[in-house]
């Protein structure tokens, strides 16, 4: 198992021919380029089953979407597959709905955001970035 992190926003975890990529808060044109490079490297090293975790992503643009579509096309040709973890943010999810890619990708729901503690005041928004317990 190898881990790699590109910038502060993108990280990957590889086990055999399976890989998980965790995408940061923003997947825009700038970040899409990094993601594409990361996916290329993974595919070159034999990844066939890719899980892209978008759960904490709040902004996705068409370039970000294109990098996922590209990965899907390549993996389909190699009898591999790609699955996504749905962004919790409705704003980020809108891009998938508008382009109907919500019906094309295999999509898993994100783990629920950890509930705020017993205190009545909800925690800071960054709580969404913590893994579900």
């Amino acid at each position: 198992m190898t881990d790699a992190t590109v910038g502060n926003n993108l990280s990957s975890e590889v086990t055999g021919d399976k890989a998980v990529i965790r995408v940061g808060v923003r997947l825009d044109a700038l970040e899409a380029h990094e993601l594409r490079t990361m996916i290329d490297v993974l595919l070159m090293n034999g990844t066939l089953h890719l899980m892209v975790d978008l759960s904490r992503t709040e902004f996705i643009d068409s370039a970000g979407l294109a990098s996922l579509i590209r990965a899907m096309t390549v993996l389909n040709q190699r009898d591999g597959h790609i699955e996504l973890i749905r962004p919790r943010s409705e704003d980020a999810w809108r891009v998938f709905r508008l382009t109907k890619f919500d019906e094309v990708f295999t999509i898993h729901d994100a783990a629920p955001v950890p509930k705020p503690g017993p205190r009545p005041v909800p925690g800071p928004r960054s709580g969404a970035d913590e893994p579900a317990s």
Binding site: R26, H33, D61, A63, L65, V95, L98, T99, V104
Partner: protein, 677 residues
């Protein structure tokens, strides 16, 4: 003389005149071509007949006919002599046999049946030899043609890098001409190819040889090799020639082939030269554009905001940047401004413009509002030596304006059109001094004007009044005056939009010949007509907010924070916010990728925040957007490009694109959902 063949006489008759190969090994190599050539060159009455049959036929005849008892014999093929031996002239033949066009004559006691048999055999051999030669010739020619065509296609396909092209050419020439060494004589060197010994020979042979560019071939020859220098008739670059060497003599067909190849080489080199030239020009052009954009960035990106007045400033450069400029400073509630035009356009004018703007900024801060003459004097002192040295001049209108009192001081050095729109008439402000750079000392004087509410100062550039229509008719000073005369009290942006639109309409189909610039100042608050409640404001006043961002993917990240500040001016729902953010983001990324294509630039966004809708105007100076090049995606069908515009259309309520001179203008509107209380 009996059965012993007379070799010398036979040879005399049967040999082609040119050369009989003495060296058997060399003959092996060139045999096929020898035969082909002899067959091709065969003329009626020629002694040379199909070479393959001559020796063999002679041999066969000799042995067969001698064995049959012939003293002498002669064989004619189509009336031409193939071979003979013995004495065939002193008496008529004693026997003969025909087979098609083959005639066999014998002297001496020969059995007629045997003679017939020999004739049939000989005839077949000759027939086969003709067929064989035909085939060989056809095959060789076809192959040569194919190879030539292949070479041509390769050269054409790779004609971008000259060195590469030349290398390939040299190889193809060597192959096609069966040369043992080839070199391209160009740029004072030779690009040698071939085996060591012939290559060394060729190098030595061409050194010091003179040849005339595009002239005749030069022959080089000694006992070892034959060579040619074939000058090329190219139009670009240094004169060049191709030199070849081989042991075999060069023949007519080789020269024809070289004529063909030489033409191709010359044209391929020309293509490569033109390409190199185009590339270097494009590089220079790009640098020019970047430098011009930098100069253009010196212009204020937004008009000054002052209580009690309204200002609009706008320029559209004819090339990537021009000499038109405007600048302003607000010092102690006084607006100092200058509008001008440096003669010429493009980078040189833009560079002068930057110097004029810098001089203005310094001068504004040193003088009270009523001393515009002192400002002009200072600009004159500072810029005259510079401008006169490079032979350029600059028109300029310098002014100061006090919004609180409506007092306007102007000094016009050669700038037009300059006018004031009063409630009942238009007052021209003619220059009182020639442009900067013409005279070393200022002359004339400034003037002071008291503005009333709604009065407008308008300073345009000649790019507006001199814009031609397709028939060559100018927009004109009079029309300009007429169009602005009815605009008293109107919002400055309305006037500015109207003038630019009218000029663009007038010049539709004609490229802008010069920069177009307009500076408009209105004294007093605008009298906005009351609108019935619930009707959208026309959103044509000044924009509520502006954003200038660098045309990069990183720059597009400024949009979100800017919208954040906008939402303080106008509260809108978070889904609306994110729709707008994504739409603007997609548009800007598209502009970065497709309009600027990696060239530095800026994107300007203006926002109008209405009660029921928000409008954004996005401007860039990149290349024109052409809709046909966008492949519209099918929802859900994987496609890597083309989602940007598709998404924008889904996110906003209206989207419009307009190409203005040197500028792309996108307009997006988003209706605000009725908010729940």
């Amino acid at each position: 003389m009996t059965s012993a063949p007379d070799l010398s006489s036979e040879r005399q008759v049967a040999e082609p005149s040119e050369r009989q190969v003495a060296d058997p090994s060399e003959r092996q190599v060139t045999g096929t071509d020898e035969r082909r050539r002899r067959y091709q060159d065969r003329q009626p009455g020629d002694s040379g007949d199909p070479a393959v049959s001559r020796d063999e036929a002679s041999q066969a005849l000799r042995s067969m006919l001698s064995a049959s008892g012939a003293r002498a014999a002669r064989v004619l093929f189509s009336g031409r002599l193939v071979t003979q031996f013995g004495d065939v002239t002193s008496e008529p033949p004693t026997g003969e046999s025909r087979r098609d066009t083959l005639l066999c004559e014998t002297w001496g006691p020969v059995d007629p049946d045997r003679l017939d048999a020999v004739t049939v055999l000989l005839s077949r051999t000759l027939d086969m030899s003709v067929v064989h030669d035909d085939l060989v010739t056809a095959l060789v020619e076809t192959q040569n043609q194919l190879l030539s065509l292949y070479a041509v296609s390769q050269i054409q396909a790779s004609s971008t890098n000259r060195t590469d092209v030349e290398e390939r050419l040299v190889h193809e020439v060597a192959r096609l001409t069966r040369s043992e060494a080839v070199t391209l004589l160009a740029d004072g060197e030779d690009k040698l190819w071939g085996s060591t010994r012939p290559a060394e020979w060729l190098h030595e042979a061409v050194t010091g040889q003179s040849w005339i560019p595009g002239g005749r071939a030069v022959h080089l020859r000694d006992e070892r090799y034959n060579g040619i220098i074939w000058p090329l008739a190219g139009n670009y670059g240094e004169p060049a020639a191709i030199a070849l060497a081989r042991s075999e003599t060069f023949r007519t067909t080789d020269f024809k082939l070289m004529g063909f190849l030489g033409g191709i080489i010359a044209s391929a080199r020309d293509t490569a030269f033109l390409y190199e030239d185009a590339v270097s020009r494009a590089g220079i052009e790009q640098e020019h554009q970047m430098a011009s954009r930098l100069a253009q960035a010196l212009l204020p990106s937004r008009p000054p905001v002052l209580e009690g007045c309204e200002v609009a400033e706008r320029t559209i450069p004819a090339l990537s940047a021009g000499g038109d400029f405007y600048t302003h400073s607000v010092i102690d509630d006084v607006l100092f401004f200058a509008v001008g035009d440096v003669a010429g356009k493009g980078l040189p004018a833009a560079l002068v413009m930057t110097k004029v703007i810098a001089a203005c900024a310094a001068s504004f801060s040193r003088h009270p509002p009523e001393r515009v003459d002192a400002i002009i004097g200072e600009l004159c002192d500072e810029l005259y030596p510079y401008l006169s040295e490079i032979g350029l001049f600059a028109t300029i209108l310098v002014g100061s304006y006090i919004p609180a009192t409506g007092v306007l001081h102007l000094f016009n050095a050669g700038h037009s059109p300059t006018m004031i729109v009063l409630a009942d008439r238009v007052q021209q402000i003619p220059p009182t001094m020639p442009p900067l750079g013409v005279l070393p000392e200022p002359i004339g004087s400034g003037r002071t004007i008291q503005l009333n509410n709604g009065d407008l100062l308008i300073a345009g550039s000649d790019g507006l009044t001199e814009q031609e229509d397709p028939a060559g008719l100018m927009f004109g000073y009079e029309r300009f005056t007429r169009e602005v005369s009815g605009m008293h009290s109107r919002p400055v942006s309305e006037l500015s939009d109207r003038i630019f639109a009218l000029v663009a309409e007038h010049g539709a189909g004609v490229s802008a010949s010069d920069d177009q610039t307009l500076f408009v100042l209105r004294h007093g608050a605008c009298e906005q007509p009351n609108r019935p409640a619930g009707i959208d404001p026309p959103l044509d006043g000044p924009a509520d907010a502006f954003l200038t961002l660098p045309a990069t993917h990183l720059g597009a990240r400024d949009i979100g924070p800017w919208l954040g500040t906008l939402s303080k001016l106008k509260a809108f729902e978070s889904t609306t916010f994110s729709r707008i953010e994504l739409a603007l983001h997609e548009l800007c990324v598209n502009i970065v990728d497709h309009a600027y294509r990696g060239i530095e630039g800026e994107i300007l966004i203006a926002a109008w925040l209405g009660d029921t809708e928000i409008r954004f105007e996005i401007r860039d100076h990149g290349v024109e957007f052409i809709e046909d090049t966008v492949i519209p995606p099918q929802p859900g069908v994987p496609q890597v490009r083309g989602y940007g515009l598709f998404l924008i259309e889904k996110l906003v309520d209206t989207i419009a694109y307009q190409r203005q001179p040197n500028e792309n203008v996108w307009t997006l509107t988003i209706r605000l959902e009725p908010r729940h209380d």
